[in-house]
Amino acid sequence: MTAITVPAEGAAARAKTGGRRVPVRVWVGAGVLALFVLAALVGPLLWPYDPVATHLADRLLAPGGRTATGSIAWLGTDQVGRDLFANLLAGARITLLVAGATVVVGGAVGLVVGLVSGYFGGPLDTVLSRVGDVQLAFPSILLAILLAGVLGPSITNIVITLAITRWVIFARIVRASAMSTRRLEYVDSARVLGCGHLRILVRHVLPSCWQPLLVAATVQVGLVMVAEASLSFLGLGVPVDTASWGATVSIGRDYLGSAWWISTVPAAALALVVTAVGVVGDGFRDLSDPRSQI
């Protein structure tokens, strides 16, 4: 009996307190994220970056150094004299684009596979699960290396590569969620009402999958950004004439002992954004799952 009235009390309490309060750190995270998204959108317009132009006279300038043209490189310059601030802004665009696109593509594939697999079950689920097993057992970094090798360097291909290594994770999460939702009484209730599979999937099962999917997506966005950097480290990152944080971190790593800023500036940006995404994701999960807050 108490099992049923507790939610009522919770609901009443929530209704009266006007919802759970969003913690400060989530706001900070969201703010940082918004800032970087803005920088990625507007930055390259204000501080244009030419990935093929070199200014050898200005190479390896420390942050705040003055270039030959008299301007100040606030974040320093890289090993061929390009301004790191402009590089950072241009890189933000690519990095966020790659991460976002990867998660969207991987998430979409995972969503469909997971929904179908979890809702219908049976032999289809078995086959899809085994395929997932194979891919999970297969080292993902290796898969990325091989795929990047097959496809060649381009932004699209990196997105495809990373998405292929990620879809299983999304599929697993959605599958688990769909499976548990399938067993819920309200799905039975919908079936009794005469709802077809499609309607049940879309109206009843899918909505309960969004939340875990989105939480997973926030985790994966971060991991994808880091994975993109790792690909660059292995020489399979974005093309030479594109700037991404991962590529800059990777190229600049040889200078960590002397010109630390080349690698550290984008690494810090990467860490900041990934952490911000994670914080927002945590907050999101806490909001939707009151138990995890305790």
Partner: protein, 341 residues
């Protein structure tokens, strides 16, 4: 709901007919290989008459929920037939079942889990009209939702609320309104009031009874609560371990129980008229055996105070003993007249 009124069958005609129903779940065999059927419902015959309430009462694990789920098509029976009106559901195609779904609705035990918590009340109620096109033109949805809300004694302002803002009793009303939206002839209520507090439970029970009077809807009412059953039932079927052990009108079963299990149930059920140290001491020993390994002969014999050798050997038939329509499945039902509770 005037149009619906017209289509309601004459009270008393058979609406739902269950014959020889066997249903349950499959389990992995002990060796891990193969699957074994477990009959949670092991051969049940029941008939629900239009405009009437048939209560199925029994303890957990007796198969009453399996019965309910089979009736509404959530579970495919292993054997037997279920027919609704003139449609044999076990033989019906998808299209026909879909059509029957309009006349055959269900209210679940826990309104919080049986209604999608993400939906608004109006959407929950109106969902049936989207699934069964042609029942109600889209333009009339809002008005009909209001009407249904008032029918279940909820203010029309609830239409825009989300379910998690409602209390248990209010949710269960929404659940009933949703079932009523398609103007069904039969509503299966699976422990529909068990999760509610006493004061609220009385409200919902009243509502169900009022609706039956107004709309002529029939109930297949599944419950473990004898007080509730006694209160609402026209007919009562007592289930034990997948079979019906006693069946009759409410008055017959409660005032003149013929099966030892029914008697035990009645004496075990607490009542506000009990007092400490009172003589309620025919309480059963032991617990319900697993449906995967039911006892031979009479399924109740392992806990039965009057079991004899014949009970282990022969399965007692459910047949009329004495009063008309009052049937019991006990070898000794005839010679052991009831003493009342």
């Amino acid at each position: 709901m005037n149009t619906a009124q017209a289509s309601v069958p004459e009270a008393g005609t058979a609406l739902l007919r269950i014959r020889g129903l066997r249903a349950g779940y499959a389990t992995r065999g002990r060796s891990g290989f193969g699957r074994r059927r477990v009959d949670a419902v092991a051969g049940v015959d029941l008939t629900v008459h239009a405009g009437q309430t048939l209560c199925v009462v029994g303890e957990s694990g007796c198969g009453k929920s399996t019965l309910a789920r089979s009736v509404v098509g959530l579970l495919d029976p292993f054997a037997g037939s279920i027919s609704f009106g003139d449609v044999d559901l076990s033989a019906a195609g998808r299209r026909e079942r879909h059509r029957v779904a309009r006349d055959l609705q269900m209210v679940f035990q826990d309104p919080y889990t049986s209604l999608n918590p993400r939906m608004r009340v109006a959407d929950v109620i109106a969902e049936g009209w989207h699934v069964h096109r042609g029942v109600l033109p889209a333009g009339e949805h809002a008005a009909e939702v209001d009407r249904l809300l008032s029918l279940v004694e909820l203010d029309s302002s609830y239409a825009g609320r989300r379910l998690h803002e409602l209390s248990g009793g209010q949710c269960q009303r929404v659940s009933i309104a949703r079932a009523l939206a398609l103007r069904p002839k039969l509503i299966v209520c699976d422990e529909a009031v068990s999760a509610l507090d006493v004061s609220v439970r009385a409200q919902v029970l009243n509502l169900l009874m009022d609706l039956q009077q107004e709309l002529g809807v029939a109930y297949l009412f599944i419950s473990h609560d004898l007080d509730v059953v006694r209160h609402i039932a026209d007919e009562v079927a007592v289930m034990y371990l997948g079979t019906i052990v006693e069946h009759g009108t409410a008055a017959q079963v409660f005032q003149n129980p013929r099966h030892p299990y029914t008697r035990a149930l009645l004496s075990a059920a607490p009542s506000i008229h009990d007092r400490p140290g009172g003589t309620n001491e025919s309480a059963l020993t032991g617990e319900v055996p697993s449906p995967a390994a039911p006892p031979s002969g009479c399924r109740f014999r392992t806990r039965c105070p009057i079991a004899a050798d014949v009970c282990a050997a022969d399965v007692p038939e459910l047949r009329v003993r004495g009063d008309a329509d009052h049937a019991a499945a006990c070898h000794f039902a005839g010679e052991n007249p009831a003493t009342g509770s």
